[in-house]
């Protein structure tokens, strides 16, 4: 390559770099944190919603109701699931939708990158007090640096669903499934586990790893992030939690074999693990009761709450939230949609629709767990009656009873990274590749590197 050619390449690269450094929209406002109110009660124009799919009666009834409240606004919906890659491309092209519907763990990350706007004024415009309409923990999970960035929905807390047939066969009582007494629970799990040919055929106690790892850290008094969202993955309580989970896993055949058995279960079908007695007890979010209700005659179940080591009931859950992109073409309509769709009236419509579906299928109404205490109680008193199946009534009642003990999952600018690294640490530790301490140390180091890259991390 001659000097002239080298010079040409260097010049080309320099131009490219200069183009990047200047950026095509360098003078545009970068944040939606302006002081003036961007939200108006008067709405018109178009609204494109991305990520929300009103496919079932609960979504459709609320969507229909909300669309009626936004008469005069032309609404289009991209019903595919929210995908950060797609949203990033839209943001880079300056063509973001008016409203997005994403997992709550994404909210703080999007806020940290200034891709969504704070919604405190949105709530205020419609006279809604967030912590009254929603569980306080849910609002915390969509908050970032003191401001609320999401309108949340659903809080389907986790509890333990036990197979009473397995309990009876193994001589284990429901009281022994007490997470505040880990040693006792470990013994009960061993008793309920069955192995054939070196492989487990029944798992005594399924803690739902790594999906519910954050909840187990909370059981042992730990957590994933601090008040600012900074990762705290390797604090001593978390190490204790993971050490116990490793003991539990090893006592039941080991992580790899248990996972293979879990992956082979017909979780949503007529031959699910409770029908086939493949588990003694398993941690499940509330929605799974609805799945089991289709097979109520074939299962024999009971539920117990998850408790912390000091005996307090613990209700934790992820969920979704609406958020408004910083460059939303129609923030007022987006705000009204989110507020109306999560209103008690909308949930009342959803409750009515669910009841009709349940009545038609002669099934059990297991309730709607909306993220809003007002809507939850209204729905329960109106539609969730005695089902005639004492087991299911007890299970449903358990899930309702734990709601006041709701706790945040933890909001962080690097929520996804924290979650990924924690899940990775759990797998690495349970499969024996590293000790729990080492796995969590590595996870913490990786999460902190991500934290250092975030605005929250850079600004302390």
């Amino acid at each position: 390559m001659g000097l002239k050619q080298i010079g040409g390449v260097v010049a080309g690269l320099s131009v490219g770099a200069a183009l990047v450094a200047c950026g095509p929209n360098a003078n545009q406002p970068s944040s939606g944190t302006s002081a003036h109110n961007q939200f108006s009660k008067s709405v018109s124009g178009q609204l494109k919603i991305y990520g929300f799919n009103p496919s079932d009666e609960v979504g459709k009834s609320r969507s229909d109701y909300t669309a009626a409240q936004l008469r005069g606004v032309k609404i289009t919906q991209d019903t595919s699931s929210f995908d950060t890659q797609k949203f990033a491309a839209q943001a880079a092209a300056g063509q973001v939708p008016g409203l997005i519907y994403a997992d709550r763990t994404e909210i703080a990350t999007l806020a940290d990158k200034k891709l969504i706007m704070p919604l405190d004024q949105c709530y205020a415009t419609w006279g809604v007090t967030p912590t009254q309409r929603f569980y306080p923990s849910v609002i915390k999970d969509v908050s970032y640096r003191g401001q609320i960035y999401g309108v949340p929905e659903f809080f389907q807390a986790e509890a333990i669903i036990a197979d009473k047939r397995v309990l009876q066969k193994s001589g284990v009582t429901l009281a022994q499934l007490d997470t505040s007494k880990p040693d006792q629970l470990l013994t009960a799990a061993k008793k309920m586990t069955a192995v054939s040919g070196g492989k487990p055929t029944r798992i005594g106690f399924v803690p739902d790893m790594p999906g519910s790892a954050a909840i187990w850290l909370a059981v042992f008094g730990g957590g994933t992030v601090d008040q600012l969202g900074r990762p705290t993955l390797n604090e001593p309580q978390n190490v204790k939690a993971l050490t116990w989970l490793k003991q539990l896993s090893d006592a039941q055949g080991g992580y790899a074999k248990d996972k293979s058995l879990l992956d082979s279960m017909d979780v949503f079908g007529a031959k699910n693990q409770y029908v086939k007695d493949q588990v003694g007890a398993q941690v499940w979010a509330q929605w799974y009761v609805n799945v089991l209700s289709d097979y109520s005659k074939d299962v024999d179940i009971a539920a117990v709450p998850i408790k912390t080591l000091d005996g307090k009931t613990l209700a934790m859950a992820g969920g979704s939230a609406y958020a408004i992109p910083t460059k939303s073409p129609n923030p007022s309509a987006a705000c009204k949609w989110a507020i109306e769709l999560t209103s008690p009236t909308a949930w009342q419509k959803a409750g009515q629709a669910r009841q009709q579906t349940v009545a038609k299928a002669h099934s059990i109404n297991t309730g709607l767990f909306t993220g809003s205490p007002v809507a939850d109680q209204a729905n329960r008193s109106q539609y969730v009656k005695s089902s005639g199946n004492a087991d299911f009534d007890q299970v449903i009642d358990t899930y309702y009873k734990i709601l006041p003990d709701n706790r945040p999952m933890g909001s962080s600018a690097v929520g996804q990274s924290v979650s990924d690294n924690l899940n990775n640490a759990v797998i690495v530790a349970l499969s024996g590749s590293k000790s729990p301490q080492q796995a969590l140390d590595d996870a913490q180091a990786a999460a902190l590197r991500a934290w250092g890259q975030s605005s929250a991390g850079k600004n302390g």
Binding site: G23, N25, A88, P210, A256, Q416, S431
Partner: protein, 314 residues
């Protein structure tokens, strides 16, 4: 008119004719050139610039970062883990895929009838979407009830936990890669069909066994094809993403062992989960340089080993 002037006019006419041909040639390939410039040259230049910046997606602006992103890469142990995983996978996948494709191609090449039907059947997996393939492999490779372990069980072999034991994660991804070996098979088959029949006849007259025919005749004759496949399959393996992502990262609530963290996956996470586009661009350039070096080494070695028939192997 002197002989010199006639010669000059002929040369000019030839030049003129050649220029028109060249122009026509360029016109024919211009759609590709435009696409190459827009989607490769400009994009790569942009990405190189991006790798020296902190890019803010919200405002679509970038601030100069010097070599910060490259420093971060070299200070991140996960980058090393993902690179090692990628290399190990490449070393396992490329020879196995080539061998598997070679066996299939030899079988098809030796068939008297029905080659077209079998070629189509063998090629079908290549046409199957990766998502569908991954779903099937999740069932096939289940450690407790999967078909692969049930088959091994027939021979008294207690199969491993393919997808959950970190030691077996990479072999399971390699198995999924072999499912799509038909692409290489078709190219090898074309190479095999170009080997002159007379050479085999001569070898048979000389009493060469089948193995000797393959080793001393077939392989040298198709070595340019094999060499091409080694290079493109190595590049593809170093960029592995789909198989690992679909088997281990499809569910945000699940997680994968470290053994499944490939460079492409980690790059994706940095760009589209953490929105660290500058860092991701730097990672992409690191991979580009690695691929370039490996390819150059392969070409250097290949030039000694490949037989180009007419003398291109010097």
């Amino acid at each position: 008119m002197t002989a010199a002037s006639v010669g000059l006019r002929n040369t000019r006419s030839k030049e003129h004719y050649n220029r028109r041909e060249v122009l026509a040639g360029y016109l024919f390939i211009s759609p590709w050139i435009v696409g190459f410039v827009i989607f490769t040259v400009i994009s790569m230049t942009w990405s190189l610039g991006l790798s020296f910046t902190h890019y803010d997606l919200a405002s679509n602006t970038a601030t100069a970062a010097g070599i910060d992103n490259y420093k971060l890469i070299f200070g991140d142990p996960k980058v090393l883990t993902s690179l090692v995983n990628t290399f190990v996978y490449t070393i396992m996948a490329v020879p196995l895929e080539l061998a598997f494709a070679m066996v299939l191609a030899l079988l098809l090449n030796g068939m008297a009838r029905g080659t077209g039907i079998f070629r189509t059947i063998f090629y079908l997996p290549k046409m199957t979407p990766h998502v569908a393939t991954a779903s099937v492999f999740l069932l096939l490779l289940n450690g407790n009830v999967g078909a692969v372990n049930q088959f091994l069980g027939l021979f008294g072999i207690n199969g491993p936990q393919w997808l959950t034991d970190p030691h077996w994660v990479k072999p399971s991804i390699v198995m999924m890669t072999l499912w799509g070996a038909a692409g290489s098979m078709v190219i090898l088959l074309a190479g095999l069909q170009n080997v002159p029949r007379e050479l085999y006849e001569a070898a048979q007259v000389d009493g060469a066994s089948r193995w000797q025919q393959f080793w001393r005749l077939t392989l040298p004759m198709i070595s340019p094809t094999v060499f091409f496949l080694v290079i493109v399959n190595t590049i593809a393996a170093l960029q592995v993403f789909d198989q690992a992502y679909l088997l281990f990262y499809r569910d945000a609530n699940e997680s994968a062992p470290d053994a499944a963290l490939f460079f492409g996956v980690y790059l994706f996470q940095q760009a589209f989960q953490q929105f660290n586009f500058g860092l991701a661009a730097a990672m992409a350039w690191l991979l580009f340089v690695i691929i370039l070096i490996i390819t150059l080494i392969q070409i250097k070695i290949g030039n000694r080993l490949v037989f180009y028939g007419g003398g291109g192997n010097d």
